[in-house]
Symmetry: C2
Subunit: 209 residues, 2 copies
């Protein structure tokens, strides 16, 4: 009598995808306040009770929709540490500047104010789950390019912070014209800064070429 | 007939301070939604029309209350660049983690979603006004400690991003017990990372001692 079979049929993963996509659309188009389970049910034709079975409240649904989890950020190291680092920088920046995140994150942060114990989900989805992949990236760097004394967690804190800053604090002005070039330039500036921080002292560095 | 005299008496700066303090208290105790001009008027005994004369809406009032502007961050360089940098790191972290900012920033970001042109005020108050002081700090560093090739604006973007991350993304768990020590340790980690990024290559560095 337990599990999905008790409710008639097994869960269909396509329904999850449909619900999450509709949630992102609603966030982007109508904002956090109007992104309710009922609105998602209306938009998708999926019953509200089916959605509640998977996500206990709209907060969890919005978290899942905005932060899809490790998948996008599961970046295998190539050994070219700057290129790998840049993929993390770009992935986080894109994560936070997506229309769904721009609408969803302020609302989630406001919700956590009232219920701080919920905050753990965001933290796990945004960072904790990704840290092993990030550590592996630094560990796979060519000898002499990354100082092992540098704490990978601090680098990742700063990297995520730069993405949050870029999405929520940097001026909106100038984003419309030449926005893509502007973002790429900022990604490069953040990468350059982090690579500078990671470099060993000259005496410990591999010779160039 | 223009200016404050047309309205009967000159503006009293003590009233501004009273209104801003009450706004911070309301944010911290009752949250963004309940921090209205009417509530501030009730709390302070200052007339709502007087408050509106100074701040056209509750958004501007909350911005002024949460981000009091350059004053707190107008840090004169001492020449000890790590100590100076740390004062910026601590000042921004304290700015964003204050109870008023924790309650106010998510609400402001949500408001900017609907009215992006308002966003400029936050940007100016959070960063633009402080950049000259920050640039002066790096410029005042002892020769050979800061590579002039490093862009001060990127360092400051990353520094502010780290503060935002620390206030809004890092786990709340662990903050209660030993929170002050934890915060100081994170401030040090961010400073260490930025100092590493700022250091010139060995060949250009001043000899130790």
């Amino acid at each position: 009598m337990g599990g999905d079979s008790a409710r008639g049929r097994p869960r269909d993963p396509r329904i999850d995808g449909l619900v999450l996509a509709a949630t992102r659309d609603l966030l982007a188009q109508r904002g956090f306040a109007e992104t309710t389970i009922q609105a998602v049910a209306r938009q998708t034709g999926v019953g509200a009770s089916t959605i509640y079975r998977r996500w206990p409240s709209r907060i969890e649904l919005i978290e899942s929709a905005v932060f899809p989890g490790l998948g996008v950020l599961d970046i295998a190291p190539t050994g070219d540490v700057r290129a790998d680092l840049r993929r993390f920088v770009v992935a986080y920046r894109e994560l936070f500047e997506s229309p769904a995140a721009r609408a969803g994150v302020p609302g989630l942060l406001a919700a956590y104010q009232a219920e701080p114990e919920r905050h753990g989900t965001l933290v796990a989805r945004v960072g904790q789950d990704v840290r092993p992949a990030f550590q592996a990236t630094l560990a796979a760097a060519a000898p002499g390019t990354v100082d092992p004394a540098v704490d990978p967690d601090t680098v990742m804190d700063v990297l995520i912070g730069a993405a949050v800053y870029d999405a929520f604090i940097r001026p909106f002005t100038g984003r419309a014209a030449g926005a893509a070039a502007d973002r790429a330039a900022q990604d490069d500036r953040v990468c350059d800064l982090l690579m500078r921080a990671l470099r060993p002292d000259d005496g410990d560095r591999a010779p160039a070429g």
